[in-house]
Subunit: 567 residues, 2 copies
Amino acid sequence: MSLTIWRINLSSQKLSIEQPPDHWMKLGGRGLLAQIMVDETPATCEPLGPLNKLIFAPGLLVGHMLSSCDRISIGAKSPLTGGIKESNAGGSTGLLMALLGIKALIIEGQLVDPWWTMVLSVDGANFERADDIAGAGVSAAASNLLQRHGEKVGVSVIGPAGEMKLSAAGIQNLDKDKAPSRIAARGGLGAVMGSKGLKAIVFNSRGAIKPAVADINAFRDAQKRFTQSLLEQPQTKIYKEYGTAAMTRMCNSFGALPTRNFSAGTFEGVETISGEYLRQVIIDRGGDGKPSHACMAGCIIQCSNNYANSDGVSMVTPIEYETIGLMGSNLGIDSLDTIAILNSEVNDLGLDSIEIGAALGVAAEAGLLKFGDGEGALRLLNEIKAGTPLGRIIGNGAVSVGKMFGITRVPAVKGQAMSAYEPRAIKGTGVTYATSPQGADHTSGLTIRAKVNHLEPKGQADLSRAAQINMAGYDTLGACIFAGSGFAAAMDTIRDLLNARYGWNVDLDILQVLGKLSLNLERQFNINAGFTKQHDRLPEYMRYENLPPFNTVFDVTDEDLDNVFNW
Amino acid sequence: MSLTIWRINLSSQKLSIEQPPDHWMKLGGRGLLAQIMVDETPATCEPLGPLNKLIFAPGLLVGHMLSSCDRISIGAKSPLTGGIKESNAGGSTGLLMALLGIKALIIEGQLVDPWWTMVLSVDGANFERADDIAGAGVSAAASNLLQRHGEKVGVSVIGPAGEMKLSAAGIQNLDKDKAPSRIAARGGLGAVMGSKGLKAIVFNSRGAIKPAVADINAFRDAQKRFTQSLLEQPQTKIYKEYGTAAMTRMCNSFGALPTRNFSAGTFEGVETISGEYLRQVIIDRGGDGKPSHACMAGCIIQCSNNYANSDGVSMVTPIEYETIGLMGSNLGIDSLDTIAILNSEVNDLGLDSIEIGAALGVAAEAGLLKFGDGEGALRLLNEIKAGTPLGRIIGNGAVSVGKMFGITRVPAVKGQAMSAYEPRAIKGTGVTYATSPQGADHTSGLTIRAKVNHLEPKGQADLSRAAQINMAGYDTLGACIFAGSGFAAAMDTIRDLLNARYGWNVDLDILQVLGKLSLNLERQFNINAGFTKQHDRLPEYMRYENLPPFNTVFDVTDEDLDNVFNW
């Protein structure tokens, strides 16, 4: 059995299983999403209308217990950016789709009379009423579905935010331990799922025959070499110990830690929200807390964590750097407990913590809460939960808050909020924010680990270009950003894994080939949707408002920005 | 003394008076705005930021008691559409600027510590604190300013909506009888003025020497012929009797009267909101009411009115067709008294009644009020006045309401709501809505009076092209849409008036020349701002959702839309 395309017509509740066309075969994950969208999704369609398609595609290497390589890419035309959106997540969704032999799941049309759960299994697609979990938080909904369908299934589910079609709503997925903590967060894909009337998708692989590997011996050999390489990288140890929160101190030292709605790059409370502090608190408190935890089966990095309260009871899994930056320093909050409460709340609502953290920062600038006021932030999250007008404004993201309250200091590009790297201080990442077809997004091409002067504008476009190509490549493989260091030191393992898995004959440059192809396709979709170079710009104020402590503006030239994709 | 450019730097509160460059000389009103914006305003600037410029420019024929030719064009980059915006209004602002010899007023930068009133006179620009009128409605603010500066001044003022920087906020101007009833309504120019910290501008022409007419005899002769032509047109009589409300029955008969959020084209309550009914009610009630009234000095059409309550006390001046369509049938409201209350309220808040009517229609679809519920609509207007989150959502327009509440049936193009001609039933106007650089707007090129089958898609692009060119030409002259019928029957009077006024030697095709130039400039600005043909489209649902009673969709081809500006 080879990998197939599962196409769902929601209006008729019918599944058709198709052989992928040749030019889809060589792609997976992010690249395959882009190809499908260019081929099929009307680029000018209304994101929440019946013509948009919601697509799930595991990366090319998903399903084989390769460390950190089981990521699921989810995509559609974004209600937040109006352009292409791919958002990927760890957890078990990718693995279960691979076990079912699904190369891509394409969801079309809209269900009548929401809400529904779609169950995918060897028996095809089955639709069940979801009335009992409609309105429920992600956690309760996932528990309900696991109870009904058994602990071995995968679940993708939206929270109240997705049901309300808020543009900051994501799609939550289960981690390997069944916690709904792996969100395809960015760009409002939860709203697209909501617009389709789907509360949840259950992936049940019972009885499935996993598609065969072309040369299993060669695959195992390459896998060993990749694992070895990954174990040798210093980052692997760093991320295992401190998780992504290792970035907190580093960003602060670069003057790039978003602070009080991106008005400063260092935060006086950095120590108590640092990765080092986080680890110590978790260890000291014991109980449910875990300083290190794998979100995907087989991951040796285990950058996730479980944060417990002072009684040792789990508050949230995981606390990540982006959430610390956006819901911590960006809001002037220096308490991990407060961040954990906010994080848990947005997770359960099914919201992107980056977008909501940025939205709350703009809200603070509008006087809706004070910086440092965790209770005020929680109160605003409760407005989202209650579906009030104010809650909807915040739940639609940073640009929405700015628009409604007449605030122009909004850290966003193409409608999407920046993540926790201040682009005036890490200018290569600023280039990525500006030019990525995905809108402002660090996972599209982070540059902070490059050994350059990040304040110098020259050369940043080259740095961003290389990072964007690599990341688009890894996202097409289904590889986590942290697997990248292992692959980078043993590039032949990518070639060997792909050739062994699919019987292909690709070269050493395959990561570049996949990355460039994916980016070209994404840019093509956006051009078809009406995007131009004028959309590849940072917010105006970042060009004239100095960022402390280095009092720097974003001064990479427009010409450099316009040449990022000329390779 | 020749006409000059008055350039205000708000940051320094300085005025500089400049000679216009040659290529500005031949333009006025809408065309001049477009030229100035292409020359000076960064097209990608943040509309509410310091780099946007707010520009006032009287049309070329303003200032000479020509009937219906004293219109003022106000423009800036629009916070509603993100593109160029020109919104013109009658009243006395244009006349007073002409008396002061101001060809264009260019307002740059932002004032520190709002709010301020700027007083323009022969002594230059003077800034006064506006603390006593900050937060005040348009009516009270205008009264205060007239009291302070004398009854002879002109006033442009924003209401609370502009102060809140809401995208549906306009700039109100006094009519010839000092009522602040002539709003440059569309596109959020009031928010731009608000972002600059300006509550009001006072135009005081005392002591000014009006710029001379090159050949006064030739001018008077052409004026006579134009007046005669205007008097001979049947529309002049119709609009005098019924005002713009004459369109109500006509649109309903074409199945083009927006009803219940553009879900139908005929309204069962049409009779009690018709122009005929309106006239009779005004006459029957007597008192302050006037079925006919001139907004500009010298106008012989006098399409305005004053609507009084059953005690004969004025409720609002005027009630126009667009308001009847958007706040009447579009909300399922069949009572002129209710419409008058809503109209009066939006006027005083300084809001565009078209945008707000459309926003309320979408709000009704979202369940925030019931169709037909006038009290519910008033309650929502009070939310705007109070500056609540819900009020801000509505005050930011129809697209904002749709976005916040997940509604996709939003009658808007380029972010701006449609006016009261349903484009599926008057397809030429649909072409105008789709392609006008101004966003959906009937004044950009209305086609309902053409003797064609308005349901037939073929040929509508040609019709719209001709109408758009004409209207851009008239808006450059400062001529009201209703002056057009008089000019159209005596085209030589435009040529003769311009040559006599300026000592020029233009030809009979001058209206076309001005119209095409203006449109080309506007399109250039929008291209510079990042607009593409993908933005020249009606909302998706209008292509597949049938409109009763003729069950028609918008089926003009994209190719036709893309060729509108190929002349």
